[in-house]
Amino acid sequence: MSDLLIIFRKPPVGTSWAREALDLALVGAAFGQQASLVFMGDGVYQLLDNQQPDQVEQKGTQAMMKALPMYDIDQIFVSEESLSERGLTKDQLGFDCELIGQTELQALLKTHKQVFNF
């Protein structure tokens, strides 16, 4: 089991929350902590393909997301319920990630002592 669980609940562009949460994941990995990421709520929008944040002079999170494998972060989960509430399906996402339901989500929170929830 990984050491850190980081929950992403904010959209990627309108605020700095998503970027700051990803920074934390990367720094955690640099500190030798195994990190798992969960995308739920509006956080699932971070996974959409073809984001062009430069259209509004923002940086977004896609470039950082692409760096995750370099940090050995490969446990990436997305809430099935959050996706379907937003009319999205897994094939619209630009990242390889594992769909999880409520039970698996609850288990992830329960089995990690360190949870950072953004």
Binding site: V13, G14, T15, S16, V56, E57, Q58, K59
Partner: protein, 130 residues
């Protein structure tokens, strides 16, 4: 037409000051004028001279300064919202016995009446909330 703009969000924390900047450029492109940009709530953080973004990110306060200079736009920061958040000009720094001040050039601390005035006197007041 004569526009004014109100900004309630801080730089980097949210997009409002950037959106307002894009909007302002489009307003000017359509040959309207912009009288005043009023910074309120966390928008006051846009007036800091100390904002130091990484090289590959936009410096929002600097962009407002440039645009204001080029197009003669007033950049007015709500004084009550600013001083309690730690944005001071030289005069306020003296009043509160602070050793230094950090309001960027081109920004002016003034009362909330300047926002009311913008609403009364301009053709359009557009708000970018946080």
């Amino acid at each position: 037409m004569n526009y004014s703009i109100a900004i309630y969000g801080g730089p980097y924390s949210d997009q409002s000051a950037h959106s307002a900047l894009h909007f302002a450029r489009a307003v000017l492109k359509r040959e309207h004028s912009i009288q005043r940009v009023f910074f309120y709530h966390d928008g006051v953080y846009n007036s800091s001279a100390l904002v130091s973004p990484p090289q590959d990110e936009a410096n929002v306060p600097a962009q407002w300064q440039e645009l204001a200079k080029e197009h003669d736009i007033e950049l007015v920061v709500c004084i009550a919202a600013a001083v309690r958040r730690g944005l001071l000009d030289e005069k306020e720094a003296k009043r509160y016995s602070k050793a230094t001040h950090n309001l960027a050039d081109g920004f002016t601390l003034s009362g909330l009446g300047q926002l009311i005035d913008a609403g009364m006197t301009c053709d359009r007041l557009i708000t970018f909330g946080a």
